[in-house]
Structure formats: structure tokens, C-alpha cells
Symmetry: C2
Subunit: 348 residues, 2 copies
């Protein structure tokens, strides 16, 4: 691989100084004559010259690159459509504004994320669903770099964020189940690793208590956001007597896992037990029975986060530091339809 030609080579070949080449490249027409421009251009194509972006970035002190930071768990993209949806949205705006995206999976136990994040290779960072007590979130609060969190909107936290209102969204779902007559509702959630996990559980509490219903310890199972956890949870719930009549699941993964166990156990859904998921991923739309779920606009989330980040980076300032996008409860076969008979009920 022969060394690439530099601006110096071009200058020599065109018989001008490197400054002139740079000016031609920049298109500052008032600074050079037509004749030199032609000579420079021909030198460029002869030598197949490409400006070195690294050198440019060093000089300009920016990179036109956005960092997209996730957990080091690299199966994230395929396993959860939330991540790929958000990334798609980020990508869509980045492409429009001519930014690149750098993927930085970081171990959640990494105590010094700044080493990877503040190395000048990105102009700003998007933190996707950071863990509640992790180093990443703490780092973001120090505001050493333009940074936006997506998937976690804590109004008491100063870091700019884009997301849904997890509490209200799950509340709407829970109320719907209650409105359909369920009295013994189980919550299949996640440990409080992420913001959303806590909010969704709090919403369950609120819904139950405002309806005067009991929500004892045994009616809730806190695992992780994945199918296996849902299976485990369902098995626990089936041991109870009386059994719950509905599962409020904090993620679709959990819901699908639970559904599998119920079906294996010969429990009918929704007649015996209704299921409500969260995220409205493809799998709940295609499963049988199709699962009711709470849809969040993942792609818009990503796009909005990117827009916010670019506002910071490019110095436009922020009109709002917190942006909440609406969610929708989608009713399908795994629950009854809501009383007021339209298929979808908005929340927020």
C-alpha cells in the first residue's frame, strides 16, 4: 500500500504553495485565479489526492462525528429493536447533516469512561439507556462534553435528555387492564438497573393503589428485560393461588417469554391470563396471539436526541433540555379491547 499523497505533493506538482491548494479546496474563489485553480485540480486528480480528515480534525479541533454509546453487550443491536431503532434515527439525522457515527460499546462497569469518550474523536455523545448508578451517567453530569441521554428522562437531572414518559406510559397500560376488570394483576419487571425499570414499576404501584387494589410482593417479579426472565417470572406466577388474571410486563421480551410458558402450561391468553407488553417490538406483533403493548417511537427518539446534540455542538443553545415523546397503548389479542372501543389509546 503506497503512501497516500498529501497536500504537499499536490502543491509541488501544481507549482504553488500548500496554502493555495488549501484555499482552492475550500473554494475561496477571491483568493486565487482561475488558472491556478485548474492546475491545482489537475494535480489533485493526477495524484488521487484525498484530504486527510485526521489532520483536518486536529487543526479544526472538531471531528464531525457523533458517538453512540451503548453497553459493551454487543448483541444489543439484534436482540433489542429499541437500540437499532434509536440508532436508525440518529443515523438519519447524521446523514442529513453530514456527520458520521462512531459506535462505542462501553462496559457498564467501566469506571473511567472519559478515556474513551473525551479523546477528541467525537464532537458529542449520545448515551443510550445508561444504567442508573453507572459511571457513564455520572460522567455525563460533569458536562465536559456535549452529551445527550436517550431513553431516560429524569426531570431532576440536568443532563439533556430525550425519551418517553415511562411512568405515564406504563400507568396508561396498567389502568387499561384495570378498566377491563382485572383485579389481580402481576407485574413482570426488571431490577432497577435502568431508569425505565423503576418508572414502570412505580406506575404499577400507582395504578394499583389508586384503584384500591393490592399489589403484594408475590405479585411482582423483578428480573431483566429478556425472555428468559419472562419465563422465570411466569413460572413463579403460575404457582400462586389464586393466580393473577393479567401480566403487566415491563418489556416485550419479558412478555414473550411469559407467553411461551403460559402456552406450554395450557393457560389460555387472554381468557385465563391477559398479557400487556412494552415497546411494541416486531415479535409481539407477529406472535400468536398478538400481544398488546406500549409503543414508543424509537426512531424519532434517536433523531430527536441527535438534533438536540447538534444544537449543543453547533452552539445554538437549547430551547428545552428535556424532550418527551408520546407513547401509545396498542391493544391486540392478548388483552381485551378497551371499553371505549377504539383500538389505541394515547398517553401523554
Amino acid at each position: 500500500m503506497k503512501p497516500r499523497s498529501t497536500i504537499k505533493d499536490v502543491a509541488t506538482r501544481a507549482g504553488v504553495s500548500i496554502a493555495t491548494v488549501s484555499l482552492v479546496l475550500k473554494g475561496q474563489t477571491e483568493r486565487y485565479s482561475e488558472k491556478t485553480a485548474v492546475r491545482v485540480q489537475e494535480a489533485i486528480s493526477r495524484l488521487k489526492y484525498r484530504p486527510n480528515q485526521t489532520a483536518r480534525n486536529l487543526q479544526r479541533r472538531l471531528s464531525r462525528t457523533l458517538g453512540f454509546v451503548t453497553h459493551k453487550d454487543y448483541e444489543l443491536l439484534t436482540r433489542s429493536q429499541w437500540y437499532s431503532g434509536v440508532l436508525d434515527g440518529v443515523l438519519s439525522l447524521a446523514v442529513e447533516r453530514d456527520y458520521d457515527i462512531k459506535l462505542s460499546p462501553i462496559a457498564s462497569d467501566n469506571s473511567a469512561p472519559e478515556r474513551k469518550l473525551e479523546d477528541g474523536s467525537t464532537d458529542g455523545i449520545i448515551l443510550a439507556a445508561p444504567e442508573e448508578n453507572g459511571a457513564l451517567l455520572k460522567w455525563a453530569r460533569e458536562e465536559n462534553m456535549p452529551c445527550v441521554v436517550v431513553g431516560r428522562v429524569d426531570l431532576n437531572d440536568k443532563v439533556p435528555a430525550v425519551g418517553i414518559d415511562d411512568f405515564e406510559a406504563e400507568l396508561a397500560a396498567a389502568r387499561a387492564l384495570i378498566a377491563q376488570g382485572h383485579r389481580r394483576i402481576a407485574f413482570l419487571g426488571s431490577a432497577w438497573i435502568q431508569w425505565s425499570a423503576r418508572q414502570r414499576e412505580l406506575a404499577y404501584d400507582k395504578a394499583m393503589s389508586e384503584a384500591g387494589l393490592a399489589a403484594p410482593r408475590e405479585l411482582r417479579f423483578l428480573g431483566r428485560y429478556h425472555e428468559q426472565s419472562g419465563e422465570e417470572a411466569a413460572r413463579e406466577m403460575l404457582k400462586l393461588s389464586p393466580r393473577p388474571t393479567a401480566f403487566l410486563c415491563a418489556s416485550d421480551e419479558i412478555a414473550i417469554g411469559a407467553l411461551r410458558v403460559l402456552q406450554q402450561a395450557g393457560v389460555r391468553v387472554p381468557q385465563d391470563i391477559a398479557i400487556m407488553g412494552f415497546d411494541d417490538e416486531l415479535k409481539v406483533q407477529l406472535s400468536r396471539p398478538q400481544l398488546s403493548s406500549v409503543r414508543q417511537p424509537t426512531s424519532e427518539l434517536g433523531r430527536t436526541a441527535a438534533a438536540l446534540l447538534l444544537d449543543i455542538i453547533e452552539g445554538r443553545g437549547l430551547k428545552e433540555r428535556k424532550i418527551i415523546l408520546p407513547t401509545t397503548v396498542i391493544f391486540r389479542e392478548s388483552t381485551a379491547r378497551p371499553d371505549h372501543s377504539d383500538a389505541a389509546v394515547g398517553s401523554m
Copy 2:
């Protein structure tokens, strides 16, 4: 945002030269004393110094970053699991070897991809499913940069590539349908935009001709790899008389679209028309009936491509320039089981 401290600031504060700081950072213990090391370290943490990666890259003439190039169509990641699967695989190896990934969606009509690709911001490029006659593939053949193609293995092409054998894979699927007694098989494929499209259609031809079956023009529909195209194709096929008894679909997207139309038309699957997909995406596993399909190991594809690329970049040379990973035909409800009664038949 205050300017970040540089190696110069650290040097000043520690009372040494910047060279010494650099050596301490590098851990060249034989070049400095314990005392200076301590002073430097304390200056570093006092000033919260982070080495500037851009400057490093410039000096070292490399970036420890891999480019992942896709079509500019930013919905790719969510719409097709092939892309996210491959990306996941790439990511998995990149994380292990401490490389970053830069996403570069490039418009397929971009006539000068080198501007974005040869800018020194990546050490090498992974081209995901490039179009057959596009500028990207042509660029890759010029070998100006370490580059690996994934999803297209043309043995007559010198560019290093990782993929499946699309021809053999589809051939196995087609033969299976024939073995099940189908005589009038329609091919629902894609225009020859991508390598795989051509190979899969050629496999259909081969299978039909070797079985002495007719494969007339009207039995094939060439659209794109998406659901809408499948719907269109199915509508066309339903007009034929006699109708085909099986659809060999070149992608799961097409298969799902076709299935939808068949179900709307009251055609039973597989009794009236059998369906075979390709890719084994989640949606065919969850649909009703579940669709038979050809599984390709997307994540391994990505991981292998990344490994190959790193071999080139890090100068280890290539044992093999073309790597073909095995596929499996998965039989589900949308076709009969194969005669020899085991559920999956390997190919390659």
C-alpha cells in the same frame, strides 16, 4: 466549555518536557525515574488530562477504527435483521480487539466514495452487501485501502469477501420443494441489484432444469427485497392458471408480503401454496404459519469479515481471501417436511 488540557500543560505542571510525559504515558519505565513518574501522574489527574486521539492518530498514521459502509438508506438497521446481525458480529470482534466502528451510510449513486472512505479516519472498511454495479465495489477493487466485502462472495473477484454461497443455499431450498412433489414453482426474487439476487435466481433455474421442470417467464417475479414487492408478486401469481403450488422467495420480506396476500385471498398455506423464505429473520419464525426459510449466520458473517479485515490491517496476510459460511434450510409450517424427516437440512 473550557479548553482541554494538553500534554504541554501536564509537562509544565510536572516540570518536565512533553517527551517525558509521553514516555510515562507509554510506560517506558527504563526511560524515566520513579519520582518523575509520580509527578507526571499527579499532574495528569490534577489537570484531568486525556490524550487527544486525533493528534495520536495523525502521528501514528492509523486510527484504530473500522468503517462499516451501508447504503444511505438509514432504515436498513431496523428493517433488515441481516444488517444488524452483521453489525453485531463486527462489533463483537471490534470490542475485543479495542477497535471502534464508524458507520458510513453512503448513497448508492455516490460516484466518488473515496472522498468519504479514504480520509484517514478508518484503518479499513467493511462493505455490507454492496450493489453489483455501484461505485463502491469498483472502488474496493482498486485496493487503495484494506477492505472486506460481506454478503457477496464472487470467486472471480479479487476483493476479500465473506458470505454464504447464495447459489447453493437457494439450490438446496429449491430442491427441497421439488422433492416434496412440487412441479409448478414460482420464484419471487429481486432485480439483479445485489449479487445475492442473481445467485438465488440462477439457483432456481438450475433446480428446475435439472428436475426437467419448466420455469417460464410468468413464474418469476423480480422486484426488491421487501414486503411490498412480495405482495405484488403474489397478486401476479394468483392470476395464473394453473396456479403455482409453491413460492420460492429470495427473502423473508418477500415471503411475508406474499403470505399476507395469500391469506387475504383465502389461499391455504401450505396446502394450496407452500412458501419458502430466505434469511430466517424473526418475522418468519413468529408468523402464522411459521415460514420455512434459509438461515444464514449473520453475526458470524460480520465477525469473520472483521477478523479478515484486521488480518489485512495488521499485516498478517490472508490465508484465504474468500470465506463461505454454511447455511441451513429450516423447515417449518409453510412447507411440508422433507422426506428424510429431519427438520433441517444443511447446505454447503
